[in-house]
Subunit: 417 residues, 4 copies
């Protein structure tokens, strides 16, 4: 299966590219319980292939290091005991070199396997492994940004990007433009014959009432108006839990915003270090609570995930992705009707993350993939500036707790038509 | 409006009945952050009428005590500062006598108002006040049960009930019987012309796929089978957050279950003190996480709130309510097809508590009633053995966080047909 | 032993006097982990006689309620399991009436015992029980003050006192006057033949260098100068742990101080409710950390407990005690050389609470009385305005953690001569 | 001042030796709030010379990086803001190479200064800087041990040591041998003319009663007897706070002890990785609470720091120190009367860490060196197997909170003669 083998090589290589130039120390430290060290991501994605593909299906496979089953299991209870999540950053050993050797060891065995005909089941597992690796490619970058943002030196994790500051446009916010959608019954979820995660199915019909979507995501300029209007000071815009988060965590702006040294403007911490804030780029690093409060403040609402999926039907997956190497949301200059549905920022939807009708989790360890997280999270759609383009599709459901802000998360407004 | 006046008197009186025979101390102490003292409930329900009805609409009304605006506001930010929730149990003053005088003061002013013709707006506010009072009638009893359960003496808050222990049936669990429902489009939400809380509307259409509901709620006997099968020891049944709750909170049984002194059986703490567990009564005091895990363990699922509402369409609101004075779930001996849809235990549904399409919160303080809690909670349906019968209806949506167990919360199974 | 019987009656009666006029609720609620409910104190002091005197030494004694052994044990591990300290405030049952009946039951048995000749051992145990009861008399009042201070109504626990506000003197602080002491070897600790707690012995010799003690405790007026000089803003005066307490607990003044409504002056919460601050009364409700920082700020130090005991040698135990019914520290108008060594406020010393050379804890439960607390606390000397006068003596060592402020704790300055 | 220059070079070099062979990652991660990363120690000790010696006294000195003043200040409030202690492990930048360059930059400037005649004040500051560096040499090793002990791979931080497991002697514990000391007045504290930390003075006289010291520290073999006798299960041996630590932290053994894989014996995590426990070596990694409980259990006590200092008078500072490269406590085979007073393990004393009579902290930043920690800690004496030999003396007072166990802390018994 030569093209499978090429894709495997390509995906695995992209992971390494994302950490190029970083030290063992950069990739060892964990900056928060919800984030993981880069080295851990490098090893865990490898462990996935070892644990679910090679060990059960390749009799001749020799496990690289028996300790790694314990160390690099993320949350699979069926696999056995695992290292505590909050302790991941204490593993100065194995060193980065050893983890890279682990990757090579598994890659070699995988390539041998991929040279042979594969059962459908095994192919599906490997596809899942690659999709899993792509998810962690995004996490590597968002976790690195979080770590580097804790450092008072504000160092750049990807220093090549944006050596030249972006121009800061002085134009005022323009009125939101809307795209209309009629009432309909629509089909939600990916077709069974295409690869998708379990929670993107089963396909099913839903009723939609007439609605409108904003042409583009909410921008930094829009968000400044919310700040200036006292949005972070007025509980009436907020969910009760959201207001508690504002007060207890002291939110005053999106995560990573800082005043410029002259106190006249705003800059933000990015993967290229501190940078001027590009006013017409989509706002990023806002929580669901902030997105929801903003929407209420302007008298609109967030779209449901069904509205989003319906609206994106037939749109090409184009936009600002990790392959573009910008590593931050950008202003769009495209003339199309719906802009930036894919890439730039994940868009919070109003939909709690739940099972689609008829959903059953798979048997065995991989059954723990998504089903056990169907509680207390919200669905996000469309991918971000650090998502791999080939990873995304209209049915793709990302999900995070409503207080999280370290991903590239923004929003697009909706309203009833 | 004589019958309105009578109903006001009746609802207010029922509140007092629920605390009859209890001391100032019993009604002052707060046993957990999520619970409130009885005295606080007595005062807060009164404050609601003073704050939203009398003060703005009765020019001659004299506020009973200006401090009470601060002390007995629950969560209405628009009203101003409020006493911290976790500190409610420190208010040994005002004494119970003063709080009862406060109730009489407000009742007198309300009765004077009710003797006159009322605007539709005012009538709606008073209806809301009475519905609000009925909600707190249930909370008074569940909060008292929680308080008395913390006392190693296990005293009875409502000692008259069940002086004779219930017979414990030795019959084995019978197979679940099912009631079938066809695929359909159905209407959800209360009609605008009937009183309902804001979150029970707007009415809207939803698609239902064919499904089945269990004839009766899951019983204590059923639950013992789950315990005996190691249900609390096996993470594979549980949501990830649910398993964390099992481990960190040490859940092994529903709340309030204890071994009998001979260690051969089970008893449970009730409003009548420690009592033998009635095996064929609906299980109560289980969290959403437990309900969800149980359903997965038996290969079924929880119903959605839409399935529940559709199934209950046209059923009379009959069952075991607070007016029956049993104060605990009972075995049903009725011959009907769907048993105990109302009363006995609130039934967890699979539906996160969200806004219905087109929902907008009301202006002003009462707008904070439900809308700001539409996050992180699950909908429960049907009422319990401590709900007032007149408070319930098919569209009624109760909601709690998925880890809470101190309400009379149980479950009914569903499955795809 | 008629006078022993009288003294027993007198001490026990004084306990009841301290809660006169308070409700069951007032005496049931616990306002902090470090405080206990009044009802608990009433029962625990009674339990002490039942547990250590009656049960082991009075064969005919019938235990009042077997549950009380569990409920009202404070910290005696040797006695068996005990109710968790932080849960003491949840015991609405037994009611106050039952606790008072418990007191009468034990008093009756004790009086019968006291009518007979007693062994020296038994006499010593009863003496200990009475001293123990007196300690709790003070705690009842300080714990009530803490509870009532949490109530936004600021009610008076002892309302008769100080109906007339104290005059607030406008005179400036006068220079500290000093009393000199020569270098010496002195004897520390109570003589074995007099009643004392175990930690007041063994008697031993210590070396003292020449020193001076301030004639009177630091006053509220003195403390205002510290506040005005930014004492609470400057870490250089503070121990490291003290500064952490200032920052994390937001200390800006002694506990219970509040601005007057006109924001021009200070009032303080007292057992008589909110009162104007008497500027020339000793400052109270300061922690060790504050006392130590103050002393460093004025270029002095706290005395050691040995200096204090040596200086108090031969002074009569006179001053403002609980029997005076003032329940707050007062300005002294006495002409003596060393003023207010006893009463008004406990004086923090520089001495960590440690064992005297040769100290061994007693066998059995009462051995846990003081020895196991010889860590992390500081010694205070002299008693307060809510201490019983007969409870105090020169060798008396009170002790608290350095961050505590809810006792009547102040300070007297010392310096090297 | 050639020999000063040599000593500077020697001490600074020894610091680098302690981290030889470790990676940037090993030296970047922080395993607990109370520990610091190796890289931080390397930089902070350098900052001390820059901040207190070069910047104020060397006009031509060019600060290496202005950010480092903020990043590598430990706790000196007078110097200005500082990086939060718990965040030290997030600094992947500056890299190890940059920190080493910082060291060279400062060393160069220091050597230039040391080539010139120095004022007494400046000499004293540099002496303090070297003593400070030696303190951190010990901390580097204890913090590394703590970090490596969190790693399930149990890697060796100093792998060369003890490649051959120590013989485990089967001989039973021998009876404690004692050395007697008469009652006396003795002088405590270092002579002003010798270098010492501020808290080792002023010199003063204390009274000692007759006492005995055990000939050697308590051994691992002794400690096993305590474990086997249920020492960790019986609250009667423990201080109240100590028992709380036992229960809440689950102490069952000294820190770093583990069962051998065959469950028949004990091994311990050391700087050389997991090793068999040497039964006749002094027990290490016990808290004050454990040391105190052990002493009570055997009917003895801990010595006071004055007894220890008196007993060590005139003894040579010989023993097992960091220069020996063993990095763990060893059995002594010496014939002397008092064994292992220096080296092997720090010995907990019964003395809370307080100021000696007449102590005043120095003006300026270095005044914060020890004085502000004189609260809640206990004095330890004698140094350990990872202390530099030249750093120790009879008057040396180390101090830690009583719950800490990550230092090489043990105990020696005392009793009244």
């Amino acid at each position: 299966m030569p093209q499978f083998s090429d894709r495997y090589r390509h995906v695995r290589h992209a992971t390494l590219q994302s950490v190029e130039g970083l030290s063992d120390a950069d990739l060892t430290v964990q900056s928060a319980d919800f984030a993981s060290p880069g080295k851990w991501h490098l090893a865990h994605t490898t462990w996935f292939f070892e644990q679910f593909v090679l060990a059960p299906h390749e009799p001749a496979y020799r496990v690289f290091d028996a300790h790694f089953t314990f160390l690099f299991n993320s949350y699979y209870d069926a696999v056995g005991a695992r290292h505590q999540r909050s302790q991941r950053g204490l593993l100065t050993r194995p060193t980065l070199d050893v983890v890279l050797a682990y990757r090579r060891h598994v890659d070699q065995a995988m390539q041998a396997m991929l040279a042979r005909p594969l059962s459908a089941e095994l192919s599906a597992l490997i596809e899942l492994g690659l999709a899993h690796e792509q998810q962690h490619q995004e996490l590597i970058l968002t976790d690195l940004l979080h770590l580097f943002a804790q450092n008072p030196l504000r160092p750049a994790a990807r220093p090549g990007t944006h050596a030249t500051p972006l121009a800061v446009s002085a134009a005022p916010t323009t009125a939101t433009q809307w795209v209309d959608f009629d009432a309909c019954q629509t089909t939600i979820g990916e077709a069974p014959e295409h690869f998708h995660f379990d929670h993107e199915g089963p396909r099913h019909r839903v009723l939609l009432r007439p609605f409108r979507l904003a042409r583009r995501p909410v921008s930094n300029r829009d968000w400044l108006a919310f700040i200036d209007a006292g949005g972070y000071q007025n509980p009436s815009h907020w969910l009760s839990d959201g207001w508690t988060a504002v007060v207890t965590q002291g939110w005053q702006t999106p995560l990573y915003w800082e005043r410029t040294p002259d106190d006249l403007g705003w800059q933000h911490m990015s993967l290229a270090g501190l940078q001027p804030l590009s006013l017409d780029a989509p706002v990023a690093h806002v929580s669901y609570f902030e997105a929801d409060a903003y929407a209420r403040w302007v008298g609109k609402r967030l779209p449901t995930e069904f509205e989003w999926e319906h609206a994106s039907g037939g749109l090409p997956v184009t936009g600002n992705f990790v392959e573009d190497g910008m590593f931050q949301p950008l202003e769009s200059t495209s003339p199309g009707p719906l802009l930036q549905m894919y890439g730039d920022v994940w868009e919070w939807t109003a939909s709690p993350f739940t099972a689609y009708p008829g959903f059953r989790k798979a048997a065995g360890g991989v059954g723990e993939y998504n089903g056990k997280f169907m509680n207390g999270q919200y669905v996000l759609r469309g991918g971000s500036c650090v998502s791999p383009q080939s990873h995304l599709r209209a049915s793709y459901r990302n999900f995070f707790q409503p207080e999280h802000r370290w991903q590239f998360t923004g929003l697009r407004l909706a309203e009833d038509a």
